[in-house]
Symmetry: C2
């Protein structure tokens, strides 16, 4: 057919650098003579089935560069999770528009969509090249050293905890910060990179990779509070008991057993508030504060890792190169090759699709409430350059006069 | 007596630039030959009555500069609000240590402490010079164009909303962001500076300067949602009904009337969650998300206005100059002299002490849910240089094939 048409779309939660990948595709594709039009689908797969396309070929490279540096999905995103029938609709539209290459920027659900569309095209003997471009702040894609979007979100979390620690040191008490990541604790663990001096927080880190026991948590907080006179805690939103039930559900139920039961305590701030309530009531600590980092950790404008920007751009560029010069569909993966350098490879879609990576055991300390130096070595180079640093006054005490 | 001793302390909530003022005092004071020792009190007035002093004269100027660029109160802070008896204790310690100059960096409560200590010294004929150095993210000090700390917090809020708007545009729905400021809406209003294109959010802003009516709020949200297909809302934590009762209390009561009543729904995430619940249930909108900006807006490391840094440094320096060359106690105030330039003056303590400024009417639109261009002109220069900017793809639609 040789229509010279390619299609790119963005799926799932936005990140600070997802537009770098989009622009990587758009600009790299323009370098190939056989590509005549670069279509972008508005709002992911939803935009494909609705034929809601824009022509990225008509954009200036100057504006594309500015969009690349803007967080969140410039084409719009979707939470639709296509099943086989939905994928068939996608394929029909691709056929109708004679799309020859399909690039989908997203997480593990998106890679599964790409896999099904790829199989559908093969079954129909339609010459389609499909490439999944990785993106997720959760860092939970199998087969990659890390995923674009995670380093910038990790940087936000590290900076937030560095600041929260300083605030907590000035006005001592207990601080609970709840971080995104239902199954993988990478982003919560990034809080440890906000730590500089030995007595800095976070003093305790709770990850979904370990079972959360409320009594153990309260005992941990008590010990840390007595030792440091304060306590900064990082908690993953995904913490759960031994049966896998989310802690937020358990705590909400416990408190609400007399109410009508129509209160949705599983809203955004609930876990932080409920944990704070437990600490206040059980440990008799007055100053207990909780924050839920919410959407800021993935969308805040102006907090980005330059390493993440560069790599997100490159996975977009490499996707086009793999598509044009390669002979198979796949998912672009980042491989670490040095301290710090990376290269890219194309994994089979089945390796990545629908699978979830969680934190490796070597990254979590034996007591389960801290990260190891191996994790610090893993994460530090990803955070990029110009990380803000915290300094403190040295202690030069003056002798007392009245109270001596 | 001529002991050559001065004392500096930090009170109230930390800010991103409060250490600039501390370092401004410490470095400027070293330039005066008659000053021999610069004492710092740990944890504000609490450290004074406890004689918990450190010698800032023994710090290197190099480390002081690094501390100046670190957020949160390096000396530690306190929430103690001294009454007359407490102020008498402060005065006794100052006398015992032969302190001749007392600098207190804080908000309107702190300025009231300085006022009482000043009066106590005069009544006792003790030669003490006391200066209040302004600081508060709430921007609620009377007599100043604005207060150090506010511009950096405002920049955080503007950047957070610029990002939240992009996220909300990618995955449309309703987003509620709750911002600090119990009585003054300046910080919540700063959300408007995150807006660039005409259809950008925040689409609605709710300030404590205006009475909050739930039915009106829901009607506003409905109109905006129908118009933009989404809605981003900035809400001050201090919103209240006509009687002055906080909305968080009213909503929590309404929901909880059957429960034991021991649930503290007035915790941090409560207002955002309760407003989201109202929108979901009354307007039948599925995707409704709430964030509470919490401690990040005052402590996040790496988001600071360079204008704020400079001015916070200068109010510290000017405090020392006013103390050494002036003939009265007072509170340092920022006066705007151009677009954009400032100068400093020393206000009588009684002008500032214990008073609260709220947003001027000219800054709020007639409908009460937006800010005016006068406010944009007021705030923009304070945010400083290198504000991140958001760009979008231009709309170049492709003709439909299947659905035409």
């Amino acid at each position: 057919m040789a229509s010279g048409k390619i299609l790119v779309a963005q799926g799932g939660g936005p990140t600070a650098v997802i537009n770098q990948s989009l622009v990587g595709v758009a600009l790299e594709a323009r370098r190939f003579g056989q590509i005549e039009h670069i279509y972008g689908a508005r709002h992911g797969v939803r935009g494909i089935v609705d034929e809601n396309f824009v022509d990225l070929t008509q954009e200036t490279s100057h504006n594309l560069e500015l969009v690349a540096n803007t967080p969140s999905s410039a084409l719009g995103s979707t939470r639709d999770k296509p099943d086989a029938a939905y994928c068939h609709e996608i394929f029909k539209v691709l056929q109708a528009h004679q799309i020859e290459h399909f690039f989908y920027i997203g997480g593990n659900d998106s890679s599964d969509t790409v896999r099904i569309v790829s199989e559908e095209a093969q079954a129909a003997n339609y010459p389609l090249r499909t490439i999944h471009i990785p993106k997720t702040i959760d860092n939970d894609l199998v087969g990659s050293d890390h995923t674009p979007g995670f380093p910038s979100a990790a940087r936000f979390v590290a900076q937030a905890f560095a600041g929260a620690n300083l605030d907590n040191a000035a006005l001592p008490g207990v601080y609970v910060g709840v971080v995104m990541g239902r199954h993988a604790g990478f982003l919560t663990a990034a809080s440890a990179l906000g730590k500089k001096f030995p007595d800095d927080g976070p003093h305790l880190i709770y990850l979904p990779e370990r079972t959360f026991v409320l009594e153990k948590f309260l005992a941990d907080v008590k010990v840390a509070y007595e030792r440091f006179g304060r306590c900064v805690i990082a908690v993953s939103e995904g913490i759960h008991d031994a049966s896998g039930t989310p802690i937020v559900t358990l705590l909400a139920k416990k408190i609400e057993h007399d109410a009508h039961g129509n209160v949705q305590l599983s809203g955004n701030g609930a876990l932080a508030d409920l944990l704070c309530e437990e600490i206040k009531s059980k440990l008799n600590i007055t100053r207990v504060r909780g924050d839920t980092f919410g959407y800021m950790q993935r969308s805040f404008i102006g907090c980005v890792s330059d390493v993440d920007q560069r790599e997100a751009r490159e996975v977009g560029e490499k996707a086009v190169q793999f598509a044009m010069w390669g002979d198979r569909d796949g998912s672009v993966a980042i491989k670490r090759t040095g301290f710090y350098s990376v290269d890219y490879e194309l994994l089979p879609l089945a390796t990545v699709a629908g699978k979830t990576r969680t934190m490796e055991d070597e990254f979590i300390t034996a007591n389960g409430t801290d990260v190891t130096d191996a994790f610090r070595m893993y994460l530090r180079p990803l955070l990029g350059s110009k990380m803000p640093d915290a300094f403190r006054l040295r202690h030069n005490p003056i002798a007392k006069v009245l109270h001596r």
